[in-house]
Assembly symmetry: C2
């Protein structure tokens, strides 16, 4: 049997049994943005880990060491952000092919440290080893969050407003440019490539949103809007409806899609790697939270849909018609 036959989620379901053998103090095991266990007092410790593999996640000749290192840390921070937490300590393992120059490795660490300094995070340890072929970077981040503030995927409630903290689809457009080696020589193309290569983890946004009791569930958009909203639905046992007119499409994405005859709505729905946060908020508090978010961050919190009783994901098109969407990754998940 090959991994492609059962998918990542199918595989996770197969290995999940017997992983949790001492449940006391464990708040979340496999299956949320980060695992969470209880420290002493009322603090919880979220821990997340992400591995970037050459030729799978990046091409060494297409990305600078700085950008690679920064992104390897950013995707981990995004998981802590999605729990409303503060990221504290990072641990970096790196497997280095013989021909990889030390200067490239140092750039990787420079990129990590740059982002780490921005968020007050220590790089506290790790492992350095050789590799016969590919460069591999694995980062584990340990965070901290008050028990009363933590956000999970399984806490969405019927009627919640679904928000995104930023544009969706830009990263996918940037990946299209990089994969097709299209020169990003105009500002709007540069911005899209930047969105893909240098995502901003929403740690401050996550903590801000988690500070309101009206905020119920959260996830970061790594797999794509529909896939990640699907995770919230699956975990919270609810449905959701996305309002296509309200999807946050950046001016750059619109220009790009005009130029290359692509559909910006499709990019936003299934693009992935946006690393914005999706949060679901009690409708009674939603307006006030959106106002305060805009005042604090100088940009809007985008209301893009609603949590429903249906158990399925639907899109409401501009003409008011409803269509079912099967989220990417959804089937693997259900097979589990």
């Amino acid at each position: 049997m090959q991994l492609k036959d059962i998918g990542e989620f199918g595989f996770i379901e197969r290995i999940r049994p017997d992983c949790l053998i001492r449940p006391e103090g464990v708040v979340r095991a496999i299956g949320d943005d980060a695992a969470v266990f209880r420290s002493e007092g009322d603090r919880l410790t979220p821990v997340t880990t992400d591995m970037l593999v050459e030729k799978i996640h990046f091409l060494r000749d297409a990305v600078s060491g700085f950008t690679l290192g920064r992104k390897a840390l950013a995707v981990n921070l995004s998981d802590i952000a999605a729990m409303g937490g503060t990221a504290c300590q990072a641990f970096v393992s790196i497997a280095v092919p013989e021909a990889c120059p030390v200067e490239y490795l140092e750039e990787i660490y420079r990129g990590m440290k740059h982002l780490a300094a921005e968020h007050g995070i220590n790089i506290l340890g790790g492992d350095t080893t050789g590799s016969k072929s590919d460069l591999v970077v694995n980062i584990t981040v340990v965070g901290s969050v008050a028990e009363s503030k933590i956000l999970f995927r399984d806490a969405a409630r019927i009627g919640d407003v679904v928000f995104s903290t930023g544009w969706l689809g830009d990263s996918r457009a940037g990946l299209h440019l990089i994969s097709n080696r299209i020169a990003g020589d105009e500002d709007f193309l540069k911005a899209l490539i930047e969105a893909h290569l240098s995502p901003q983890p929403c740690l401050r946004e996550g903590r801000f949103l988690a500070s309101f009791p009206a905020t119920h569930a959260a996830i970061d958009v790594s797999d794509g809007l529909t896939a990640d909203l699907g995770h919230i639905m699956e975990n919270s046992r609810v449905g959701a409806r996305l309002d296509i007119r309200r999807l946050p499409l950046s001016p750059e994405l619109r220009c790009f899609c005009d130029r290359f005859a692509l559909d910006p709505v499709e990019m936003a729905l299934s693009g992935g790697e946006d690393y914005t946060l999706l949060v679901t908020v009690d409708p009674a508090g939603a307006g006030e939270i959106a106002r305060q978010f805009e005042a604090d961050f100088g940009r809007p919190l985008f209301a893009i849909g609603e949590i429903t009783t249906t158990g399925i994901l639907e899109r409401m098109d501009p003409d008011g018609s409803l269509q079912r969407i099967v989220p990417a990754g959804w089937d693997h998940f259900r097979a589990g």
Copy 2:
């Protein structure tokens, strides 16, 4: 510049600056068996991470998934053991080549879970991703230890007795058999292969030794006796003398060395991957600790040498002569 020009320790020295930017609460950053930070109360949290890479650390056709998974966890647990800690939570990242069967992966997790269950450890999360060529397994383990009990590398004192919790050199002999594809068809050969493939992390031994105030410093033997004792020397700014007559050489290692005309003392001094603990103990408490160890664990705690003022590592041969040893890895470390 290539990594081989500066070595692992040289590389670590180059990346170390600016890694620790928020030192409050951090007890140990890069440079001990595990990083350690303060939880609330008087508990400390050690965290360690180790990456195993195909063709560097293992050959997939030469090791079962079960053995690989078990060992990947064991080497991490050994780092927590060397701090006198309890291992609590494990996080597993795995990069999987397309042709790798799911059954092999499941065996990896079965091996991990087997060892995890033995020590009451949860596998709490991780990441699963693809790989174009090699299988890579990275594990991060989060532990716990009382501040008053934790053991570091830098606490050895002049006059301390140096102990090993087990045989040295067996793992290196096992590696020799595996690398040269020599059939392990006799019991003593099987035992040596087992020592290499299925090391026992000394968590209980580490906690036992850490419970005595007379125990000062500890490290696990991963790089080899002289290299790891060298780390204690460097960190504690002391010297050490090894008594060659008292090196713990197993009957199996002696048989093996007779058979293949190899020197068991060399195997024990520079072999590596023994995953026993080296501890340094105040001479006033050493005898009593060794007695209690033997009573509790049913095997001896081997006194193999002494911490000295010399700043260098020496071997005392059976004829009483002293010779300087330059520990493997030492030069890289000093170059840092």
